[in-house]
Structures are given as C-alpha cells and as structure tokens.
C-alpha cells in the first residue's frame, strides 16, 4: 500500500508526492484536500491521455474497446485469488528468494528463504515493478559476489493458467532473460499445489519443483542444500525429463 501527500488538486485528477519523492496523478474522490496524507493503490493512479496529434481510425477504437471489455471479462472470470497476490517467482543463485507479484507485475512481497538471501539488501524491492526489482537484485547479487558471469540461476514460476496468465508469463520470462542475460537459467513452472508444498518446506518453488522432477522431494536436506549448478546439471542430464515440457533452459551462445 502506498502513501501520498496531496500537493495539488486539478479538475480531472489530483497530484500526490510519495515519501520517496515520486509524484503521481490520482483519480479524484470526495474529501480530498491539499496537505492530506492518504493511502492509495495502483488502481487509483490516473492515466493521462497523451495527444500524439494522430487520428486513430474508428475501427481501431472499436477494436481496442472490444479487447478491453474482453480482457476485463476474462480477468474477472478467472482471477479469484485473494487480495493482490497474482504470481510467484522464485530465484535461486545461492541466495534463495521469492517474489510475490500482483497482476500489474509489481512486487508486493519479497521472501528471503535462506541465510545468504538475508545478507542481501532486498528491502527496497517491495513496490518496484518486477523488471526494476530484478535489475536491482541482479546488481546486488553481483555486488555481493554471489553471481558470476555464466553463473547458474534456477527460476520457479507459479501463475494462473488462463489467457491473461500466459501473457504475463511470457513477459516475466522475458524480464528474467534480459536481466540475467549472462547467466545459465533453468526456468521451471509449478502449480499452486507445488507452491504450497514449497512454502510448507520453507524452500523456493524452483527448488521444490526441480526436486520433484528428480524424484527427490522427500530428501529435505538435498532440496535445501544442493547447489544450483548441480540441480540444473541433474535435470539436464536426466533422460526421463524433457526440459521443454517443464519449462525452459536458457543459455546465451550455448
């Protein structure tokens, strides 16, 4: 939840200053006064139409409207998760971290799953969008010496399986690829049930999912302690596992 100080009220919207120095336009509601401090959410942000001076043809407008209506319909139909929690992305380098994202791909929670993760400075990632958050994480991992060029990264993702989920998943994968472009990434998808199991065992979704594929999910010690490089090697060398079925292995110039 974000906080804003009301600095100016316009006809169509009002402007707040966040404690971090960011300014945002918000949708107007009753009782707003300059100098007030309020809570606001992403959905309260007012988006201003930018006049590009170009005429949009009528059929394009109709198309956009139809797509928007369809998107709203589909998202209300399928998105029944509690509060804002939409997707989970876990990352294991050796620090083991889990991000909980909302449906705007904003990080709403960061979970440190092992000691190495708690040595990282992760407090500033909450509230960032996933792309930015991952960029900052990558810098921090490099700064603390956890991530070497060509290092191994295990990524676990749990996201709704509907149309909207697929769009987000594609985007999330792109973001991971871009921000860890000089790493070897094993990207694995997990179900909601897997995520709950991982949570129960207090390990990342990626580690749980990999262990399940290797049929080692009852070996708690291995699941927690095995090196990421080794986990990926075991998955890739196991003839019973088709990587493209469980996710994707990404390595530049392989």
């Amino acid at each position: 939840m974000r906080k804003g100080l009301v600095v100016e009220i316009k006809d169509e919207y009002f402007i707040v200053m966040e404690p971090s120095g960011k300014y945002k336009r918000l949708v107007k509601r009753d009782g707003i006064e300059i100098g007030q401090k309020i809570f606001f959410a992403e959905e309260d942000i007012y988006s201003i139409a930018v006049d590009t001076g170009r005429q949009i043809p009528l059929w394009t407008k109709v198309g956009i409207l139809a797509a928007a209506v369809l998107l709203i319909f589909v998202s209300t139909l399928f998105n029944s998760r509690p509060f804002e929690e939409y997707a989970v992305v876990s990352l294991d380098v050796n620090p083991s971290i889990e991000f909980v994202l909302d449906d705007q791909e904003k990080i709403i929670k960061v979970v440190e799953l092992n000691k190495d993760a708690s040595r990282l400075k992760l407090g500033n990632l909450k509230g960032e969008d996933f792309d930015n958050g991952l960029k900052l994480l990558e810098q921090e991992l490099k700064a603390k010496g956890y991530l070497q060029p060509k290092g191994a990264v295990l990524v676990g993702v749990n996201i709704p399986e509907d149309e909207q989920g697929k769009v987000h998943e594609k985007h999330i994968k792109e973001i991971v690829k871009t921000n860890f472009s000089d790493s070897k990434i094993l990207y694995i998808k997990g179900t909601e049930q897997d995520r709950q199991m991982a949570k129960k065992k207090n390990i990342s979704l990626g580690r749980y999912e990999a262990s399940k594929q290797l049929e080692r999910e009852s070996d708690d010690e291995w699941m927690k302690e095995a090196e990421v490089e080794q986990i990926i090697r075991n998955i890739l060398s196991n003839p019973a596992i088709n990587v493209d079925e469980i996710g994707e292995y990404i390595e530049e110039d392989k």
Binding site: L5, E8, K37, I38, P82, F83, K109
Partner: protein, 223 residues
C-alpha cells in the same frame, strides 16, 4: 488464541505471525474501507483503519469454512462495520482504541499511521512550493513526468539538492537566472552534467524545499 484460529482457516499461513498475516491483507482491508466510504483512507486518522482492523480480526474469529472463501467473508464484515461506524459518527463518536488492539498483540498500526501534523501548515508550505516552482516555469504536473523513476537516482538527486541548497552562490544564481548552475554544480560535487540536466526540475523543487525551509514537506520527503 487469534493465531490459533487463523491457523485453522488457512494452512498456508500457519507459519506466520498474526501481524504478518494482517500485513498481507492490509491492501484488501484499506481498499474495502475506501470502497465503502467512497473516499481515500487517511494515513493520519487511525480511526477508520482501526475499525477495519477490528472487523478483520472479528472475521478471523467468526470464520468457518461453510461461510465460503475467507477474503469475501472478511470484506463483508469490514464493509458492515464501517457502515455502522459512519452512521454512528454523526450522533456520537465511538472511538476505537489502538491500545485495545495492542492488547491482542496487534501492533501493526504504528507502522501504517503517520504522526498527525497540522494540515494547515502543510497546505501553507505546499502552496508556497507551488508558487516558487512556478517562478521556474513548471508545476507539479511536470514533476510527475520528470522525477527520476529509479529510487537510487532519486535519492542521489535529493542528496545533491540538499548540498546545493546550502551553497549561497548556487541558490543566488538559481533564483537570478531561473535555472540550475549545472556546470558549477557538476564541478563542485563531481556529478555528471547529464544527471543534473535529466532531473533539473526535480532538483530545483527539492532545492527550494530545503532552501526555503519547508520543514513539514522536508520531513515527509526524507523519511
């Protein structure tokens, strides 16, 4: 007791402290209050939030699986309690004590609620800030677009602005020419001109906040 009850309703959350659980649901609690009142929830007035929180705890205590999904159930209770509060508000104010919540081990409000300052003072300072930045040819609208998007860059810009506000030569130049002495600042504080130029409006606004001693705004900004 509360913790125990919560364990029953959600196996998923069972390892977590009750305050953490509430924190996870805070956006939902605030949104429900806001949807019910039709207004934004104040970050200073703890009353609405206390009502919402009490209602959320009541929902935990009263929840049974047969009632359906927990979140929908909690929303209903919060909505109903807030409506009751709004009705009563006009007749006699029924204050909810934060201490009563604390007795139940709920101390999360401290991190959410801002210390109450006089809104008049803040308004006065913000009006002043608006007038001052207008002298430089921009308004808050431009700051929405121009304030650095990245937190580190913003912190860096705020830090430079603080230093600039203390240098008489820079502030005199700034007010005389209505622009930042970019080259001089760059030399004095070893900052690249590119950074200064890219965030010049933002830096000017923060220099004004510090230079004109807009203390309440300063306090908000430097949290």
């Amino acid at each position: 007791m509360l913790q125990k009850k919560y364990k029953e309703i959600s196996q998923i959350e069972k390892f977590r402290d009750i305050n953490e659980v509430i924190e996870g649901y805070m956006p939902m609690i605030i949104k429900t209050i806001s949807d019910t009142t039709g207004k934004y929830v104040s970050a200073e007035n703890s009353e609405e939030l206390s009502i919402g929180l009490m209602a959320f705890i009541e929902a935990i205590e009263r929840y049974e699986e047969a009632r359906g999904e927990f979140t929908s159930f909690a929303k209903l209770i919060i909505k109903s309690r807030v409506i009751n509060y709004l009705k009563k508000e006009n007749k006699h104010r029924n204050l909810v004590s934060i201490d009563a919540l604390k007795e139940q081990g709920i101390d999360i409000l401290d991190t959410y609620i801002e210390p109450v300052e006089t809104q008049d003072r803040l308004k006065e300072e913000l009006d002043r800030l608006r007038q001052e930045i207008r002298l430089f040819g921009f308004g808050f609208d431009e700051l929405v677009e121009e304030a650095p998007k990245h937190k580190d860059t913003r912190d860096y810009a705020i830090n430079i602005s603080k230093k600039v506000s203390k240098e008489e030569a820079f502030t005199t130049f700034m007010y005389a020419k209505k622009r930042l002495p970019v080259t001089d600042i760059s030399r004095k504080f070893s900052v690249t001109e590119k950074i200064l130029k890219r965030s010049k409006k933002f830096i000017i606004s923060v220099v004004i906040i510090f230079y004109k001693n807009l203390n309440s705004v300063k306090l908000w900004l430097t949290k």
